[in-house]
């Protein structure tokens, strides 16, 4: 196999044409004769007792085939991790948007009219809107019966936690954090908050369920983990796996949001009640109100340092707001938790993680669950620490960054730690090192922003390769930008993050056809990432065939082999390895045929550039060998399976963001983000760069604008017009560099990129805003209004200081001590 085929070549996606012309089949393109439209009535209240539901009028409406409430269906609960979510609210609603009743009718209008005829009498209950309040002793308990829930991890270690709405708790670390803090010269503590955000996929959730007389269930859905969905439905419905078939097409975006059970159970019961197939499509309003958005968090970080800036100890308390139910998560404490300690060498650490029930929308998985939240906190905290010890943020990170062979702060041992090179390359390729920008800040007398003399990164070692991708115009002001209307302060900030390649189990089959082409059969879905292309590419590499000769088939759980689902940045790694092994197995079978034809042994046979050769001078292509093999040519079927339980390495990511802050309005423009990803080996660089670019824009939305705010549990944003995802004119230039050379666990030494590019963006922007305007925002999103308020407070304080009114108190402690959410112990 040629190295050229592996590296740097842009692989054209076969489905692109279909998608552009509209031929590609998505879930909503499936249609069954006689199907009904399903609609659900949702609770307007975040917490209420259901006194009475009257469905009589709805049932009498012409065209209505089924109306169901909790009383009409078995008392079951579903959930990936803990099964805590009812199909329809039973007795109580726990969030505004919860399903209370469902109808199936001949068309959408009739279904909606039927909903309007259902009357529900509620008795409103006090709302638990804040996770910290929900954790207090004596708070009302939202899930009093949770000991009965399937998969519930009983919190035996710390009795009483479950009486405080704590769905899950974890505590771990290394060393002795108290000892570490005792040895520290400086201890700083900061609290950060992050908001609920939606994944922002274009295609809403779609479900179509057909139930037959023979108990069998057929589902058409855009769930990105159809085998997990099948397993969960089997448990909830009490059916054998063989009775459930999940069909799927292309997925119109996922970003983590389509891995949970959504409308499948309610469609199933509507179909049972009506005897007809029932389909449901969530509206944009329902998506914003009641899908499974990113967890809101409250994160407190406390770090102990030596005077010279070395980190000694870190304590992290992370509260994930689960919302009303935690069932959308494979584990209520999402994976990002351990990363609250950062990617640094810290001998003494302790994490306390809590997943807390509140009366809000149930949170789920969103691109790198937990990471953007904890890294916003930990990398903002890192800049605050650097300032406290008088170091440049880059210098401080270099001093503390995890080096090869060192134990991670959560106690993991990784091979090939590449953090320093990732960080250095981000500095080298960005404006960070340019003296003029950093120097100008120094002139203005800001502490901790030193010139560049001491921070020149060393040359990147020669055994690493990088792939560059520049998007956007990159015509940027080099410093503060003065116009006749106002002054826009320029700032630059950085962040360093880490996230491992995903794990799980996958099986795959590779069939070689009589004309020498091949088909990969896999259960992996393609949510727009190009997973089918990469899996075909991996098979092509192993089989020594051009990509065009490899096709991909999947489409339903009855025919395709098992796959864990397209999540946690695992498809290239795990499914890829399964496909690689299946291709090897198939190739081996063709080699047997070649040996039989050539009269040589496997050891003597060579296969290179698509040609089998024997020492005796016989040769033949794949197609020729197959054609010459009689009936044996029809039976070539390779199988592969791969299960990854534990990661041996991780992927580092560093970003440098440049911003302009309009000091009159507080508005922030992100000019450019330089992103470096430790990729191992880029199998399809164009697809990798697209992931990076998308992640940066999504990360920027999280940093500055996107938010699903609630007032006392009541959702305030119910329309995409009010949900401020970045538009094209908002997008910054993205300069992306893929750092190759530190091999990962995937095929051909690849690592992962689906989630790795997102977490550094928000803290890099937050740090750049601080550099630009001297204001530190501790809670996301960093809206113009918050920046403006912080600037006004800063000005007021400055005036106060100039008048000599402030004496003694906070004066010595500098800017970090001025914020309420932030405590110093020096």
């Amino acid at each position: 196999m040629s190295a050229e085929m592996r590296n740097g070549a842009t692989l054209i996606r076969r489905e692109t044409w279909e998608k552009v012309t509209g031929e590609a089949v998505f879930a909503a393109d499936f249609e069954l004769p006689q199907h009904l439209e399903g609609k659900v009535l949702r609770s307007p209240y975040p917490h209420a007792r259901i006194v009475r539901i009257d469905t009589v009028k709805a049932r009498q409406l012409r065209g209505v085939h089924a109306v169901i409430t909790a009383d009409d269906i078995p008392n079951v609960r579903f959930g990936n991790g803990v099964a805590d979510q009812p199909v329809l609210a039973r007795g109580r609603v726990l969030f505004a948007g919860e399903k209370v009743a469902a109808v199936a009718a001949v068309d959408e209008d009739t279904a909606l009219e039927a909903l309007s005829l259902i009357t529900v009498e509620y008795e409103e209950l006090p709302v638990l809107a804040d996770p910290l309040a929900a954790m207090r002793e004596g708070a009302q308990v939202l899930h009093p019966e949770r000991r009965n829930y399937r998969h519930n991890r009983v919190l035996e270690k710390i009795p009483g936690l479950e009486m405080m709405n704590i769905g899950d708790h974890a505590r771990y670390g290394i060393g002795d954090v108290e000892e570490g803090m005792a040895e520290a010269n400086i201890i700083l503590e900061h609290t950060f908050r992050t908001q609920t955000v939606h994944q922002g996929y274009l295609e809403p959730h779609f479900t179509l369920v057909q139930t037959g007389r023979d108990k069998g269930v057929r589902v058409w859905t855009n769930n990105k983990a159809p085998f997990q969905l099948r397993g969960e439905l089997a448990k909830v419905l009490g059916l054998p796996v063989t009775d459930i078939e999940v069909n799927y097409g292309f997925i119109g975006g996922d970003f983590g949001g389509k891995g949970a059970v959504m409308d499948e159970p309610v469609c199933y019961y509507l179909s049972k009640a009506s005897g007809r197939p029932v389909q449901m499509v969530m509206t944009a309003r329902e998506e914003l109100l009641a899908a499974n958005p990113r967890h809101a968090t409250v994160i407190t970080l406390k770090s102990g340092l030596k005077h010279d800036g070395r980190l000694l100890a870190r304590q992290a308390t992370v509260v994930f707001e689960s919302g009303a139910y935690a069932g959308a998560n494979s584990h209520p404490l999402v994976g990002g938790l351990r990363r609250a300690l950062g990617a640094y060498r810290i001998p003494h650490t302790l994490i306390d993680g809590y997943a807390v029930y509140t009366n809000s929308v149930p949170a789920g998985h969103c691109r790198a669950p937990g990471d953007p939240q904890v890294f916003f906190a930990v990398e903002s905290h890192t800049d605050l620490l650097a300032e406290a010890v008088g170091l440049d943020p880059y210098e401080f990170r270099r001093l503390n960054v995890l080096r090869p062979g060192e134990l991670s702060p959560s106690g993991l041992k990784w091979a090939g730690i590449n953090a320093l090179e990732t960080l250095d390359l981000a500095v080298e390729r960005s404006e960070w090192g340019r003296t003029k920008n950093r120097g100008e800040k120094e002139e203005k007398g800001q502490k901790g922003q030193k010139g560049q003399e001491t921070t020149v990164p060393p040359a990147i070692s020669s055994d690493h390769r990088e792939i560059e991708y520049i998007s956007g115009k990159n015509k940027l002001p080099e410093a503060n930008w003065k116009t006749s209307l106002g002054t826009y302060q320029y700032g630059i900030g950085m962040a360093l993050t880490e996230r491992a390649t995903g794990l799980g189990g996958s099986a795959a089959v590779v069939a070689i056809h009589t004309d020498g082409s091949a088909t990969v059969i896999s259960g992996a879905t393609d949510p727009g990432t190009g997973s089918q292309t990469i899996l075909r590419h991996i098979a092509a590499q192993e089989l020594g065939l051009p990509l065009a000769k490899i096709s991909f088939r999947g489409g339903n759980t009855g025919m395709a082999p098992y796959d864990n689902g397209s999540g946690s940045s695992r498809v290239t790694h795990v499914t890829g390895q399964a496909v690689r092994l299946a291709a090897q197995d198939a190739l081996n079978q063709v080699r047997e045929l070649a040996c039989a034809q050539f009269g040589c042994t496997q050891g003597e046979l060579s296969y290179d550039h698509g040609l089998f050769k024997s020492p005796q001078g016989n040769s033949g292509t794949m197609a020729q060998i197959m054609a010459g093999s009689g009936r044996s040519k029809n039976i070539i079927l390779g199988r592969g399976g791969y299960a990854a339980e534990k990661g041996e390495s991780t992927c580092f990511s560093a970003q440098v963001a440049e911003v302009l802050v309009d000091t009159d309005t507080g508005q922030v423009r992100v000019l450019r983000v330089t992103a470096v990803n430790d990729i191992g080996q880029a199998l399809n660089p164009a697809a990798v760069q697209a992931q990076v670019e998308g992640a940066v824009v999504q990360g920027m939305g999280f940093a500055l604008n996107e938010e699903l705010p609630r007032v006392n549990g009541r959702p305030q944003v119910q329309s995409l017009a009010d949900y401020k995802m970045a538009t094209a004119p908002d997008a910054p230039s993205v300069n992306s560099y893929l750092l190759e050379g530190s091999p990962g666990p995937g095929p051909f030494g690849s690592k992962a990129i689906g989630e790795q590019g997102i977490a550094a963006t928000a803290p890099a922007i937050a740090n750049a805003i601080y550099h630009a305007a001297g204001v530190r925002i501790f809670d996301l999103p960093i809206t113009a209004e918050k920046v403006k308020k912080a600037l006004d407070e800063k000005r007021t304080r400055k005036v106060g200081r100039e008048r000599g009114e402030e004496k003694g108190q906070a004066g010595e402690k500098g800017q970090a001590g001025e914020k309420a959410g932030d405590r110093h112990e020096i």
């Binding site: 959408e108 209008d109 909606l112 006749s484 209307l485 106002g486 009159d664 309005t665 508005q667 604008n705 705010p709 305030q716 944003v717 017009a721 009010d722 401020k724 970045a726 538009t727 094209a728 004119p729 908002d730 809206t783 113009a784 209004e785 403006k788 308020k789």
Partner: protein, 293 residues
Amino acid sequence: MTGMRFKLLEPSTIDEALDFLAAADVPILAGGTDLLLKIKRGLIWPEAILSLHRIPSLYCLSYEEGTGLSIGALVTHVRVAQSPIVKEKFPALAQACALVGSPQIRNLGTVVGNLANASPAADSASALLALGAQVIVRNSSGVRQMSLPDFFLGPGKTSIRHGEIIEAITVPEPLAGTASVYLKLGRRQALEISICAAALSARRVQGHWQDVKLALGAVAPTPLLLPETASYLEGKEWTSEMLEQAGRSAAALSRPLDDQRASAEYRREMAEVLVKRCGLALIESAAGRNAHE
């Protein structure tokens, strides 16, 4: 589609349209970017809709030297935003129309419809207020004309009565030396409803500014014309301090609300900033013009 069953009335003259309206109170369709949304959201359930699309005269966007601009009821935002004469003579209006929604909305949505929807945040509204626009209304007894401050009554409310159609908006010819500007502030660069917007028009005569008109958007129940603040700026040679004072005056006259887009306090502060920036922009454009000449 939800609620999307209605009778479509398609008259080919205004008189015919008025006859339809006399017979039944039906919503009027021009661009449809607001109307169809209301139907989809179930806010209205019309049995019939009166489309203006077959009335050719309503597509007219015309300018007559000495008289001014006339914008027919079916003229879209994109046509106004891209018109060379609007850009030259009425820059605030061109700027405002270029900032409405997205390209798709600007291609369909009409300026008259934007006014008729009476959103306090409507981009074209504050620009047209500052340019002294008039609304030309047709009814069975003829034509009536009103100025924009008389047209806006409240959020979604105008002084258009049952049986009336807005035929056009007219904008008077600006006197020599007039400059205008529209500035908008939102949470993102496009597809955005203003948090605050400001439009300023004035002409420079021997270093002094005359015929000053100032309007604000998204800070009161209606787009707001501020004659008090304008008269403070009238006849003066503007300084930065003066413009700040004007900003404070405008902010004090605004009556913003708290919503999920911004707090009332922030809106007031931004009114102050935008008024000052509008003034600075006019000074800059005048300086540019002098340099050019």
